[in-house]
Symmetry: C2
Subunit: 296 residues, 2 copies
């Protein structure tokens, strides 16, 4: 079995090819919109969510072509959220994945429409490809992604985030925000990847769900630590932004040392929830390690 | 059989109750976002798309509870597009359905998230309720709405609209824009309503599709005429906006008289495409009349 880096690189590179194929071609009208959609999605990011979907797909012995579609749907939702979050009325950021943000490279109206169109495309993908032999399970996948994206998931987390600027949050409040803002979609990527494969029993689903919750949260804790310690060049996005915008983070609330300790605890809890799975959960375990130990 | 006004009012009022039930409650966190979503969707609009869905549902003898969900999904997409279109980076409008627009009543970031969340909710509704005994046909409905909403549908039409400001378009170019911008979703509302019922044969589907195309286009032609002739109080939105923003319209391209003649021709073509349907197409015919003869 290839080591993690080889596995991850192979999947990232094949996934990039798939995204190129699944996005509308820049020659198709409206050309500028399609060009901007490709600009915002392609050649960027660590593809953590797709990798989680692939890893969960391996756990459920899913067909990898099907998982690719589910992973693409999640990544399009993630990409749309970045485009909208970077807009002047939200975080007003100019740099993303080492490139000018969409509204800087194009314009604000285009950025708005790019985000809207990427969201539609995500649901189109989940509906037009066969992802499970049972169409009822596939409809559940559509519902799962919609819930994770909407006002009781990612977009709701953004709203809580906006409302928290300049406020002193408690740790449970901060956790509530992140479970929505980043956690919901990370959890969805794992569940959707698994949903392409064999049906897991209830206890297995519960453990996978808990793994997703821990990974989603630790991802954010590590992000906060990196944001406070790394520089802009390494991150490919503006460093120290949260502190500058007076947003509460795990680092501002706990201090760096306690934030790192929390990350280590969540890491353990994530791995514990996979304890009863066999070797098929190997990539999920390695991804939990990667998410905690990454430097960018 | 009740006359059209009675039928329409009864459906509008029941539909309003359904929307109230289907939208997240304002007490649920994040409260401000949910309150704003309800502000933008409830108590507003003629509900033309839902009425078209109900009328098409009657044609296909669909269960009205199922059609209600499909109609709500379409209306949420429509509502989200209005919220985003009104934002400063797009049309920068302050009045909609006789009320301050979302970014004026709340703020721009909230308007962005309201639109994003309404889109997610539309797909959630299509996935979580049973809309057809055959889940494969239901997945087709999800795909249909996604295509009608995205870059090759409504959002794409918006992009073409933005690119056309200050330009001289030809009539085919203007038609291409509107077939996307308003036509795609109007057509989808008809097809989704029908899709909740018995399977239509290919020729029936084709005729219904053509009806949808004509109705979508005539809706826009009439909108342009009203925009040039009616006042802001009657419309409930800023009148004369397109001309002021130097956007091409059927009236600026053809003049009012020829635009009205085009509307009459499309009206006939729409009714012709229903010729072989029986009395079950009555409400669709009446809606075509209503769309052409409306004063606001």
């Amino acid at each position: 079995m290839p080591d993690f880096q080889v596995w991850a690189s192979a999947h990232q590179s094949r996934f990039e090819d798939s995204l190129r194929r699944l996005l509308p071609l820049p020659e198709v009208a409206p050309q500028r919109l399609h060009e901007a959609m490709r600009y915002c999605v392609l050649d960027g990011g660590k593809r953590v969510r797709p990798l989680l979907a692939f890893a969960a797909g391996e756990l459920a012995e899913a067909d990898s072509a099907r998982v690719t579609i589910a992973a693409a749907a999640v990544e399009l939702i993630h990409a749309y959220s970045l485009v909208h979050d970077d807009m002047p009325c939200m975080d007003n950021d100019v740099l993303r994945r080492g490139k000018p943000t969409c509204h800087v490279e194009y314009d604000e109206a285009t950025a708005l429409l790019v985000g809207d169109s990427l969201q539609s495309l995500a649901f189109q993908l989940l509906a037009e490809h066969m992802l499970n032999d049972d169409p009822v399970r596939q409809l559940q996948m559509v519902k799962m992604l919609a819930l994770a994206s909407g006002s009781r998931g990612m977009a709701g987390g953004q709203a809580i985030d906006l409302a928290s600027v300049g406020k002193q949050l408690s740790i449970p409040e901060l956790e509530f925000m992140h479970i929505h803002k980043t956690g919901a979609l990370i959890r969805a990527s794992i569940l959707l990847g698994a949903q392409c494969g064999a049906t897991l029993n209830e206890s297995q689903q519960e453990r996978l769900n808990h793994f997703g919750k821990c990974v989603g949260l630790v991802f954010q804790v590590v992000d906060d630590v990196l944001d406070s310690e790394a520089d802009t060049a390494t991150l490919g996005k503006t460093a120290g932004k949260d502190a500058a915008q007076d947003k509460p983070t795990y680092v501002t609330l706990l201090g760096v040392t306690a934030a790192k300790k929390l990350a280590a605890e969540l890491h353990c809890e994530a791995l514990d929830s996979l304890a009863e799975f066999d070797e098929k959960a190997r990539r999920l375990r390695e991804l939990a390690d990667f998410i905690v130990l990454r430097k960018y």
